[in-house]
Symmetry: C2
Subunit: 198 residues, 2 copies
């Protein structure tokens, strides 16, 4: 009783995945529904029948990016190994994303936050949620570092996590905007040393 009518001949999430890259590299206002159709291979009928509008497709894309992203980031931060290794790996992962990935460079969530959060409350909500989850995870990692003695107890876990969070986002923005690898490595050094001391 569940599926009458012509079945769709594409996979929902793999279309979202393709559209993600289109929005990621061109921006919301910078790409057209024609771009989305030709990249995904869908006709306009299918695209609008499935997603409703450009805005709703963008929402599904950003939500998808958030979900896969937070999973990946948590995996890196909660992996076995020392706290120092984990934070180092986290920044190294971002470095690859910004300089060597086959995906569009930079962070789609930052782009979405800056371009659309002001106009689309649902986008702002996803970005806020993502940042809070990431910060929470960083706080847990900092607490562990304080407990084990890897990090000196001069600063609170909240202060440490807030610093690491903002430095991470600045890292992403500067990498994307200037593509300056030397600067990227200096930021990695400066950030790691500010947490683990000299």
């Amino acid at each position: 009783m569940s599926k009458r009518g012509r079945p769709r001949d594409f996979d929902y999430t793999s279309i979202v995945d393709v559209a993600m890259k289109t929005f990621w590299s061109k921006g919301y206002n910078g790409c057209s529904t024609h771009d989305l159709c030709s990249d995904t291979g869908l006709g306009k009928g299918s695209l609008y029948n499935t997603f409703g509008s450009k805005q709703e497709l963008y929402l599904a894309v950003v939500e998808h990016y958030h979900e896969t992203g937070i999973r990946e980031q948590r995996a890196l931060l909660e992996s076995p190994g020392s706290v120092k290794e984990r934070l180092q790996n986290f920044l190294a992962w971002a470095l690859v994303e910004d300089f060597e990935s086959t995906n569009p460079k930079g962070c789609l969530l930052i782009n979405a936050g800056l371009e659309r959060a002001k106009d689309d409350p649902k986008i702002e909500e996803i970005v806020t949620r993502h940042v809070e989850l990431l910060k929470q995870t960083m706080e847990i990692v900092m607490e562990e570092g304080l407990r084990t003695g890897e990090i000196s107890k001069k600063r609170s876990a909240v202060d440490l996590a807030s610093l690491f969070l903002s430095s991470y986002y600045g890292f992403r923005v500067l990498n994307t905007s200037t593509q300056n690898r030397t600067l990227a490595e200096q930021i990695m050094n400066g950030t790691m040393e500010s947490i683990f001391g000299a």
Copy 2:
């Protein structure tokens, strides 16, 4: 011999200033030449006769933002007072920009870098130049802090400046995207403590 013909009845830089706010709040792709005309009060004839194209006007706008911005930032960082006070004032200035200014919220240079640097080499050049000048200024401030003993000599001026730079840009992005003042204050605390210790 220099000015024959009908004189223009507007001031170039004040038009750039108005257009700046239009691009700032709507983005490059998010605003139309019609928006620019109605905000500036210019007709299309005048706008195109003066600036040539939307792209060239945007370039003039971003260059203008860079020039006034770097002057203001340097003034804050090179003002009299302790290094700690100056860095604190710098972040406090950014906080006002992101939460209380009558200008559009956030940093136009970040928006330009993320939206246009990839497609317009001249935009990337301005952003890169701005970041380098700002980082240079921060390095000088950190050197002073190291010299006077305000900052412990465990880390180099380059590491300290790189950290402050990235944390500053992350601060701006998170403020703009999430408008979370509590988070903003935690980042300010975390950043200041990471430089001056606890």
